[in-house]
């Protein structure tokens, strides 16, 4: 502790001495009297710094302002030494420190203060972030900079008024300028939508400020479905539809939100379908299976919300696969396969033919029906001659042809 105070002493003393040294130097050399003794000016006022006439070789006035350093030369005046501050300096609020110099030597120095106008002439506003989430946790900030005629921030304690239109409500607030700015944190309302704000000063208005209030995270929802029929014909589409998905404050979630639909089939296989919401509703299509099945369907917004589970039952549409084997042409015709009304099953129904030799599967061929039928040409198969067992599978049914000579 002792050591520290010694250190401070050692550091501070020279500093103080140094400061004295700087201050004392100029005024001692030549006594120049300042005529104009006003030190506080109003912004825009003409400023003259006048000294009693002294014969100086090359007088100049060095002005340091927030714009930087400017060197002024005296105006042509016999009786006194007069410096007129240029326009750009007198329009800028703040402090100007000046120093009168003759050649290299400083003669006198001083300070001026220029005070900004109380009257607000224009208002700069900034708001951000431009969109926030409804519910009161998220917030945006509106920052205003009221300015006088010459674009100086108005002095502290000036007052501006903030107007807000949030939904159907109007909000008015008074903001006090501090350190050149006035600001307000705006916490999001519960209702999503668009809030509009403006700021008004004594003589000026701001531009329009827009804050978008977005819906928050989705909450759980329900799903339902509709379908043309409940047969497993492999051709129709069942549409699974969500209820209107909202956030915790009943705001409909943003359009385009992805909802994933997960389906568990009777045999334990999984399927995924997905859809995006419009007005909070997502509709996912589901292709009908080709054999009777029972789907458990659930929709989720990954990690954030989920629906109830819905069970979808599909009844068997095909009850028989007539199979004929033409010995001489080695041709198998499956069909006509008939659907639930006795009509041909729609084209593209898959029929699989599996060839077994001594109970081992040696070949699988997949074909599609046309006009309810499909043909398998066993001659083209490139398998050695012999006896085979053939199984034909379609719509969950299996037909077996035993000991076929190929």
């Amino acid at each position: 502790m002792k050591q520290l105070s010694i250190k401070i002493f050692v550091l501070v003393i020279p500093l103080i001495l140094g400061l004295f040294g700087i201050h004392q130097n100029p005024s001692n050399i030549l006594n120049v009297d300042l005529i104009s003794d006003q030190t506080v000016y109003h912004v825009g006022d003409a400023i003259r710094i006048e000294f009693k006439a002294v014969e100086l070789e090359s007088p100049s006035l060095i002005c340091r302002s927030s714009y930087g350093t400017t060197v002024l030369l005296p105006s042509e005046k016999k009786e006194s030494l007069e410096f007129i501050l240029p326009d750009f300096l007198v329009k800028k609020a703040g402090t100007i420190s000046w120093q009168l110099k003759d050649g290299q030597s400083s003669l006198k120095s001083g300070k001026l203060t220029i005070i900004a106008d109380q009257e607000i002439n224009s208002i700069e506003v900034y708001a951000g972030p431009p969109d926030i989430v409804a519910g009161g946790e998220d917030d945006a900030m509106i920052v205003t900079i009221p300015l006088d005629l010459y674009n100086n921030p108005v002095p502290d304690t000036s007052i501006v008024t903030l107007y807000g239109q949030i939904g159907n409500d109007t909000e008015i607030d008074t903001l006090r300028v501090s350190n050149g700015i006035a600001f307000k944190r705006i916490f999001s309302p519960e209702l999503a939508g668009r809030s509009i704000y403006s700021v008004e000063g004594t003589n000026a208005s701001s531009k329009e400020i827009i804050l978008n209030i977005n819906p928050g995270l989705p909450t759980d929802f329900t799903i339902d479905f509709n379908r043309p029929h409940n047969y497993a014909d492999g051709n129709q589409i069942t549409r699974v539809q969500t209820s209107i998905i909202t956030d915790a404050f009943q705001n409909i979630i943003a359009d385009g939100t992805l909802v994933e639909f997960r389906i568990l089939t009777k045999s334990g296989n999984k399927m995924i379908s997905q859809a995006t919401t419009i007005d909070g509703i997502a509709i996912a299509p589901l292709l009908h299976p080709e054999s009777n099945d029972s789907y458990l369907v659930e929709a989720v917004i990954p990690g954030l919300a989920k629906s109830n589970t819905v069970q979808l039952e599909y009844e068997q549409a095909v009850f028989d696969i007539p199979v004929t084997f033409h010995e001489n042409t080695k041709e198998i015709v499956a069909g006509p396969i008939l659907s639930f009304l006795g009509q041909w099953i729609p084209d593209g129904f898959r029929v699989k033919l599996k060839i077994y030799q001594n109970d081992t599967l040696i070949k699988t061929i997949s074909e599609q029906t046309i006009n309810g039928r499909t043909k398998f040409m066993l001659n083209d198969l490139d398998i050695p001659e012999g006896k085979y067992t053939i199984k034909i599978e379609a719509g969950g049914l299996i037909k077996e042809l035993k000991t076929i000579n190929l």
């Binding site: 995270l217 385009g256 995924i272 917004i301 990954p302 990690g303 593209g348 046309i370 490139d382």
Partner: protein, 1029 residues
């Protein structure tokens, strides 16, 4: 003696200017090189003394190529624009070449008629036509032409030692050097050395007045007599070669070419690769091939003995990789750097005087006599027509080669691209062209914007480019793995190069752009697709460059033109004397050595006939071989190969002709089936290789197994299919495939979609975007992140979710650190993620740390193509930590998500299933992202799989994916604390959703499998729409 006008020379000049002058307008711009020279010309036109060019690569120096031709273009461009400059220089080259050949022939044959014939023939010489109209090598032509002009001067200096000739010859050598650096160096060896030999011969002969025989002793004596002149000339030329383009040599020494050798057709085996043989052997030789016996006979006569050696050497070197001799002679290094076609060009030019002489003797000389006496006048006339016909055929064939087999894509209208780059400050980023061919140089000349690519590969500096044997990124698809690999590095980490815009003239590259996270911006009116990458910073105001001493810039800017002016002043006197036929001229000394062309040797006639017949037999055999190889119905294999080939080139009518005519598949039906197919395989892949094995065959049918491999921008595709081929009327035909019979349920579909549009600047202004016009970056959250080691390479994997209300374009970058927190490597995610996320969408991601392939020279470059091949970066230490930086921006594009995954069936080895497209667009390529989870629901690996065939609306596509063996996978670190989203800590964002998170539901995961290395997998689709409507 009164000089008469040489009417042959005058007609040659008139014909040459008329023929080449009118045809260059149709050929020059589609040559390989002309536009590059134009680009250089533009550089000098913009800033004559500036040695640095920012436009290509990341800046390069133009001191890497002799400047004369480029500066001439630049100078002329001030009069009538760049193209005016180019064409004027090309025409000058034509004139210089014809007069050069005339003077060279005159020197060799001492006969103005023969020289006139040679000048006339050189106008149509196939090698010259090829070099000018197919290759566009202007500096090379000007270089060799000026060298030809220098030869008589050199002869005269050496022969009679008049200082005037030394000065004129040196002045011309200087011009040669400043137009092309290789020409004088090799020209010394192949033209000037034999010339010196010839001068010594002549001198020795002149000294020995009484006898015609030059003995070795006499030769040696003459050599010592001329020794001073020879050495003097040699040394002074060497000084000129060095000083005239001094900055070039300094630059070559300071920046040695690090480029790995780029394959060039002139180094191929011409018998194996017939296309190279055609372009680099048959065409430049043309009719000279028939006259080879005569040329050799003449050049191996005593006077031209050294030309004989030189000619033989040039001929041999020009055969490239056909025999191992050129490689042995030049050495491995020089062989791989030089393009050997120049040797053939020089050989063919060296042969021109002899061609002229032969023609002279054939038309009006002793050969005519001999032929007419021996075989009668009809034979002479017929053979005359035959030779003339072949000669003209070669000329026309060469000229039209560029028309029938275009080496370049169709001419692209550049104005829309130039305008695009000028709009909205697009020039503040670098751009890249794809599929432009050499026209990219023309674009670069017109715009101030910079590209990462370039067309002068000797000047490249980026190791990503110099370590690869590719010419340009722009045509990388032709260079297999190296090309696509190089391109991928630029596409994956574009911010490193400030690369934001890509102009694609070839849809081949579209999928790779999409899967690397690029998005389509617009299609310009010239049909060029513009792609952009979000979140790439603009170029900084000051770009790094090399500094050059001022004296170099001054030398470079002044000397080349000074040499031309000097040469002009020095030679002008002679030119005027010759032109105006002023009487003062004395016949040059070389006229003393003309040969009396009276006795054409009989044996030579016989040998020539035999040679001609042999050539014809070889040609016929070659054609027959080609016929056998390509006749489609000849055998089952041929039928299959021709069918696949036709499909590859989209020649559907030809393919249909190969289908069994009795199958009843009409052309209309076939075309229809082809037109509805789309996908990686049918629209973006190029057949790479195909093998056929006949499994069974009898008289009427065959079953053939076909194994094909295709190159696609994304991966190599292997397919094996069984095809049945049937014989009908002794011709083999394919049995057509069955078509998809599935009927979609709906005739008309309706769907609703959310679309997005971002105004950019709402006010039409060039000012910076207004504060309120800047969109907030969407919030995304990293759900998990792990550093894993798998198969000796490291990867960062994890999952990321867009938790905002707007779609987000997401870029993830990861850096690896060692235990000392020193960064080891950094890379972006490439294929293994969805780059565009809808609100609340989750994607798995994987970041591989790629290095620059084959950076060490001893690493052998693989011969076969594999775009999937991956070069892990070499790490200096073991990575222990990582960070993740994620940038998200609003993007409303490429968001197609309406593909469902059905019938997923998982077993221990593979997962199969069906993709169903429920949406309103045809999915061209679907990518399946497969994420692997361990039994505590943690993601451990991410893999991807492309579906080769497209999925049409309401239709299905099956897939079957083999599962990875993750036994060797090791999770090194699982950490979210060093993850940042748009500069913000991930935990800050996570805190917004933390309370609302629900546990991962078991239902989304597939049935667990009985494996020890992972427990679950999850699938996700990422869809590319080739033609968004």
């Amino acid at each position: 003696m009164v000089n008469t006008t040489n009417k042959y020379l005058i007609s040659a000049l008139l014909l040459g200017i008329a023929f080449h002058g009118s045809s260059i307008f149709f050929t020059l711009e589609s040559t390989y090189d002309a536009l590059i020279h134009l680009f250089f010309g533009n550089h000098y036109a913009e800033n004559w003394f500036e040695p640095w060019n920012f436009k290509w690569y990341t800046g390069f120096t133009v001191m890497s190529y002799p400047p004369l031709v480029h500066q001439s273009i630049a100078l002329l461009s001030y009069i009538g624009g760049l193209k005016f400059g180019l064409y004027t220089v090309a025409l000058t080259a034509v004139v210089l070449f014809i007069t050069g050949v005339y003077r060279f022939s005159l020197l060799m044959t001492s006969n103005r008629n023969i020289a006139g014939y040679a000048a006339l023939l050189c106008v149509f010489s196939s090698s010259f036509v090829e070099t000018l109209h197919l290759f566009g090598q202007l500096p090379s032509i000007i270089g060799i032409s000026v060298l030809l002009h220098a030869l008589p001067e050199i002869y005269l200096w050496l022969y009679n030692g008049k200082w005037r000739y030394l000065i004129t010859s040196l002045s011309l050598i200087a011009v040669t050097v400043t137009s092309h650096h290789v020409t004088p160096i090799f020209g010394m060896v192949f033209f000037i050395f034999p010339l010196i030999g010839m001068v010594i011969m002549d001198r020795a002969k002149d000294d020995q007045k009484d006898s015609d025989k030059v003995t070795f002793r006499l030769f040696l004596r003459a050599f010592f007599k001329l020794f001073k002149r020879i050495v003097g000339f040699g040394l002074l030329s060497l000084v000129l070669i060095i000083t005239c383009i001094l900055p070039y040599w300094i630059n070559t020494k300071n920046n040695p070419i690090t480029q790995v050798p780029i394959p060039h057709g002139s180094r191929d085996n011409f018998i194996e690769i017939t296309s190279s043989g055609l372009v680099f052997f048959l065409i430049p030789w043309g009719i000279l091939l028939i006259l080879l016996p005569y040329i050799f006979y003449r050049y191996y006569s005593r006077r031209f003995l050294f030309f004989g050696f030189s000619f033989s050497l040039l001929t041999l070197l020009g055969t490239g990789g056909t025999t191992p001799i050129p490689r042995l002679m030049l050495g491995e290094n020089a062989f791989n750097i030089l393009t050997l076609d120049r040797f053939t060009l020089w050989a063919s030019i060296m042969a021109l005087p002899m061609l002229g002489e032969f023609t002279y003797r054939f038309v009006q000389g002793d050969l005519k006599q001999i032929l007419q006496n021996r075989f009668g006048p009809v034979f002479h006339r017929i053979s005359g027509w035959l030779l003339a016909g072949l000669f003209l055929f070669m000329t026309i064939f060469t000229m039209s080669l560029g028309y029938f087999r275009p080496a370049q894509p169709k001419k692209i209208e550049m104005l829309p691209i130039v305008n695009f780059l000028n709009q909205d400050e697009h020039y503040k980023w670098r751009y890249l062209t794809l599929g432009f061919g050499d026209q990219m140089a023309w674009l670069s000349a017109q715009t101030n914007a910079l590209t990462v690519d370039g067309n002068y590969h000797s000047a490249r500096r980026l190791p990503e480019l110099t370590t690869r044997a590719i010419e340009r990124l722009e045509n990388s698809k032709f260079k297999g793995i190296e090309g696509i690999g190089s391109l991928q590095q630029f596409l994956t980490v574009p911010e490193k190069y400030n690369l934001k815009y890509i102009f694609a003239n070839d849809k081949f590259y579209d999928p790779i752009l999409f899967y690397c996270g690029w998005q389509r911006l617009q299609r310009l009116e010239n049909g060029i697709q513009v792609w952009e990458k979000i979140n790439v910073p603009p170029l900084s105001k000051i770009l790094p460059r090399d500094q050059f001493p001022r004296y170099q810039s001054v030398i470079w800017g002044i000397i080349p033109f000074a040499t031309v002016i000097l040469a002009f002043i020095l030679n002008i006197q002679m030119i005027f004397i010759r032109l105006l036929k002023l009487p003062a001229i004395k016949r040059p000394d070389y006229f003393r050595h003309d040969l009396k062309l009276t006795r054409f040797p009989k044996t030579l006639v016989n040998i020539s006939h035999a040679w001609f017949i042999a050539l014809m037999v070889m040609t016929s055999w070659g054609i027959w071989q080609l016929y056998i190889r390509y006749d489609a119905h000849q055998s089952p294999e041929n039928a299959i190969l021709a069918y696949y080939d036709a499909l590859d080139f989209k020649e559907f009518e030809k393919a249909h002709k190969l289908l069994d005519p009795e199958s009843g598949k009409s052309l209309d039906q076939f075309m229809l089936e082809m037109s509805v197919g789309d996908g990686l395989l049918s629209s973006y892949a190029k057949l790479d290789s195909i093998t056929t094995t006949i499994k069974s065959i009898n008289d009427s049918a065959a079953i053939v197994s076909v194994n094909g491999s295709w190159i696609s921008p994304l991966e190599q595709i292997y397919r094996s299919e069984i095809k049945t081929v049937i014989k009908r009327k002794n011709k083999w035909f394919l049995v057509p495939e069955k078509q998809d019979l599935d009927l979609p349920p709906d005739q008309l579909m309706a769907g609703n979609l959310t679309k997005y549009y971002n105004h950019g600047r709402r006010r039409v202004t060039t000012e910076q975007s207004h504060h309120e016009d800047i969109l907030r970056q969407p919030l995304v959250e990293i759900l998990s992140a792990r550093l894993v080691k798998f198969n000796d390479s490291y990867a960062v994997i994890g999952e990321i979710q867009n938790i905002d209300n707007v779609p987000a374009d997401v870029i993830i970058k990861s850096t690896l650190y060692n235990s000392e927190n020193e960064s080891l490597a950094s890379y972006n995610s490439k294929f293994h993620m969805k780059h565009k996320l809808l609100p609340k969408e989750v994607t798995a991601f994987r970041i591989d740390f790629e290095g620059i392939a084959w950076q060490s020279l001893d690493e052998s470059v693989p011969k076969t193509y594999d775009p999937d091949r991956f070069t892990p970066v070499e790490l200096s230490d073991l990575p222990e930590k990582f960070d993740l930086h994620c940038e998200s921006n609003v993007s409303g594009k490429e968001l197609y998500n309406e593909v469902g995954i059905y019938e997923m069936n998982l077993n221990n080895q593979s997962i199969s299933g069906t993709l169903v497209n429920f949406g309103l667009s045809q999915v061209t390529i679907s990518q399946l992202l497969v994420s692997y989870y361990n039994d505590s629901d943690e993601i451990v690996w991410v893999d991807h799989h492309f579906i080769d065939e497209g999925i049409r609306q309401q239709r299905k596509q099956n897939f079957d994916i083999e599962l990875k063996n993750l036994e060797t996978l090791k999770v090194i670190l699982s950490d979210l604390s060093t993850s940042y989203i748009n500069g913000e800590q991930n935990s800050e964002i996570e805190s917004k959703t933390r309370e609302r998170r629900i546990p991962i539901d078991d239902l989304k995961l597939l049935k667990p499998v009985n494996r020890t290395d992972f427990s679950y997998i999850k699938l996700q689709t990422n869809n590319y729409i080739g033609n968004p409507k």
